[in-house]
């Protein structure tokens, strides 16, 4: 054997060690980088869409400092109001500290309360999608399950006058059942005929959407005396109680949020510790190996989609009884679609889904306030949201640009969230 003296690598300095640590691709680094990219992208958009700024760039070479300063100022203002609108306004905060009245406290808590209210159903819907992804099933028609679940909860909500302790759980159960039946039927179609769940859930969602106006027009659903396509209202016993109602009734944060957090814990347990969750993951990762190990693939396929549907139905119920209290033809916004992005951005991890949903809520809430204060369209918030989603969903792209190591590992996570 030839003896070759290997070159001894130089001892890296501590600073280099930190840099090197930061270059190790992980979800935190990836998220931070994604936010920075989105922020930069948004800044360019702000400048391009603000005529006065754009003209100032024409004379960039005569006063470069002023040009940059004025652009930076507007961008900063936009992001500041975005943040303050989504989380807390510093001005209101100092007012409250100077004068701690209930009314001032309500103003302080307002933005965060709205953000979390919006996020609550989205968290649960995102968890529903991630249950599907865990088993490599793509419940793209979640919107239909959201609406169907809400519809079922609505009937219970306006027809019963019981105690909230009974009525709210009952609404939840019927919403989950209806969502589970709807998605489970698509699962059964897949298990027994091989029909792809993307087609079946999407089409079932279309059907539900088409049936919604008819449903709302039904004599016992429609609001008496009105023909505006709105339904009756959920009785007070069936509404989710406000959490901060004692401070101000304008704080919309309701029981839906703790329920969403509990669901995060539950799904976390389900993924990591439960037998059924393990089976679903097995089938998701390798159908053949699961079959060899004695798993009933058909059963697990149906169950996976039924569970996903149950969570989406529950999201519909939370939206109905926590926020809207009645249904109209545009009920539920785009929760079913946003949930897909939330599950992917959250990388199928329950707390990741939570964070992603809250982030989406922040962009939604903050965007409105930003538009109101700065005049910059709230679409900017949607763009930022989309760019972040894009970067996190394509880790290879980010890792390549920033020369991060270990992109494969992040991507591997991604494929486990994919579908076949």
């Amino acid at each position: 054997m030839t003896a070759v003296t290997a070159q001894r690598p130089r001892q890296p300095s501590r600073f280099m060690a930190i840099i090197s640590k930061a270059r190790e691709a992980n979800i935190v680094v990836l998220s931070v980088i994604s936010l920075l990219i989105a922020g930069a992208f948004g800044a360019v958009l702000i400048i391009l869409t603000t005529p006065s700024l754009l003209t100032s760039w024409e004379s960039f070479f005569s006063h470069p400092g002023a040009t940059i300063a004025s652009s930076a100022k507007l961008v900063w203002w936009a992001y500041e109001s975005l943040f303050q609108g989504a989380v807390v306004s510093f001005h209101d905060l100092s007012t409250w500290i100077g004068n701690p009245t209930k009314a001032n406290l309500a103003t302080v808590l307002g933005p965060l309360s709205s953000t979390l209210t919006y996020a609550s159903p989205l968290i649960v819907a995102g968890l529903g999608l991630s249950v599907g992804f865990r088993g490599s099933l793509f419940d793209i028609g979640g919107q239909g399950q959201v609406i169907a679940g809400a519809g079922a909860a609505l009937i219970v909500g306006f027809s019963l006058h019981t105690s909230p302790l009974l009525q709210v759980p009952l609404e939840m159960v019927v919403a989950m059942l209806v969502g589970a039946l709807l998605a489970g039927a698509c699962g059964a179609l897949k298990a027994y005929t091989g029909a792809h769940e993307v087609i079946t859930t999407m089409m079932s969602s279309r059907i539900i959407l088409a049936l919604l106006p008819w449903f709302l027009g039904l004599g016992f659903i429609a609001r008496a005396g009105f023909h505006d396509g709105a339904s009756k209202t959920v009785n007070p016993e069936g509404q989710l109680p406000l959490l901060l109602g004692h401070i101000s009734p304008s704080l919309t944060l309701n029981l839906g949020f703790p329920i969403a957090i509990a669901t995060v814990f539950l799904v976390q347990w389900f993924f990591n510790r439960s037998k059924t969750g393990f089976r679903i993951f097995m089938v998701g990762q390798s159908r053949e190996a699961a079959r060899t190990a004695g798993i009933n693939i058909k059963q697990v396929t149906i169950l996976t989609l039924a569970l996903a549907g149950a969570l989406l139905g529950m999201a519909g119920m939370l939206e109905l009884t926590g926020i809207e209290q009645f249904m109209s033809t545009n009920f539920g916004g785009s929760y079913g679609i946003d949930a897909i992005a939330v599950a992917l951005v959250g990388r199928n991890k329950p707390w990741g889904v939570f964070a992603a949903a809250v982030f989406f809520g922040m962009m939604q809430q903050g965007g409105q306030i930003m538009e109101a204060t700065t005049g910059i369209s709230q679409s900017l918030a949607i763009v930022i949201q989309a760019v972040v989603a894009f970067c996190i969903a394509t880790p290879f792209f980010v890792c390549d640009i920033f020369k991060l190591r270990g992109g494969e590992r992040l991507a591997a996570l991604e494929t486990s969230a994919g579908w076949a």
Binding site: R273, T276, F278, R279, Q285, S286, T292, A293, G294, I295
Partner: protein, 505 residues
Amino acid sequence: MKLELRGITKRFGDLVANNNINLVVEPGQIHCLLGENGAGKSTLMNVLYGLLTPDSGEILINDEPITISDPKDAVAHGIGMVHQHFMLIPVFTAAENVILGSEPVRPWPLLDHRAAKKTVGELSERYGFDVDADAVIEDLPIGAQQRVEILKALSHEAEILVLDEPTAVLTPQETDALIEVLQELKAQGKSIIFISHKLREVLALADVITVIRLGEVVGSTTPAQATTTSLASMMVGRDVNLVVDKAPAKPGEVVLKVDDLFVEDDRGLTTVKGVSLEVRAGEVLAIAGVQGNGQTELIEALTGMRRATSGRVAVGGVDTTKRSVRGILDAGVGHVPEDRQEHGLIPSFSIADNLVLDQIDDPKFAGRFGRKLKAIRENGEHLRTQFDVRSPSVDTPVGSLSGGNQQKVVMARELSRDLKVLICAQPTRGLDVGSIEFMHRQIIENRDRGVAVVVVSSELDEVIALGDRVAVMYDGVIQGIVDPSTSREEFGMMMAGARSEEEMA
């Protein structure tokens, strides 16, 4: 071309898979790499092929240092590789897979399918391989897939050909054919690196043999200076008993009874044609035969993976013919599937999880709803030590283990269950000699504990070593059940379709 690897070091975290490895392959040389499971052979080859980036070291071709950062570079430098675990696209045809990466096009961007098929047809004819260019990969038996891999590597006119355990899944006939092909390539001046755990093959083929242990080269030798025993001890670092010594079987009750079983394959052809067998507690029935004679479908029918068209299977007197896979596992049947990567394991799961894959509901590992993670880990630790699975920890994903160590995981899982019947297909595929010795002992121990064992193997050596009785299967029919002491010639004739004269009861 002359290939030289200089000072190659590759780490995975704390694990040093290759430690300062030097290797020279001369033109026209067949260089065999030997080493235990997990010694670092595949890692070294993946470095050469650009699939892994080494931490240090360099690669030289004709004494010129070159950089290989991905397989494209490797192919451009005339390096072809046949991987231990196939890199074929399951839904593509054989022809499409072979041309992948160097697709013949006629007016861009259209694929020239006809040219592709022609290339494949010519290649298979030239090298005497029987490959159906139109067959979709996932429908092909694993041996045929391997031939496609080899054709793919040859199709690039590689000057340096790396074959990582190409013969693990080949029949002896196919192996002989491959060896001939390699000899011919060598005569054309190509350099070949050949990895195998089959020492006899290595001695027949090699010009130089280099042995790797724990990521380091421990020495080189030539077939003239080595014997199977010397090679084995060089690899493992101790003397290896190449033949299992086992006490004669003490057969008990009939535990597995197969009656006139007919089974169809995916294409609807009847490939098991009226098989009847009886296996008793405490004996090993080995099923010999060239692959593709119905063994796969027979095993699938026994384990519930495939419905028999007619006939009956009973385990311990209970009819299991129509039972689900779960029902059959619960009846006490252990199953080591032929294709570990596809059926036996979930590569992304940890070792610990893979060791309980078919025991999710076992009260040892789960309560009513939840899994007992601690017990699962402990079980993993225990089996990892007992079966010498080389890995950093039980949390390591099985997919990152070396091929042989993956096989150990499957074997460990099935052997650790409380079994009445153990059905193993190719139980030692890809294992090094030391591990084969160990695994054979484990199987025999199970036999002596009263398990009825069925071993399907295309290795005649293994069949003879393990079987108390040997059934030879040909064209879906058991040609006869004979004593393992039957001569190799006799076995060869039976495997080619001749009926046995001295049938055993």
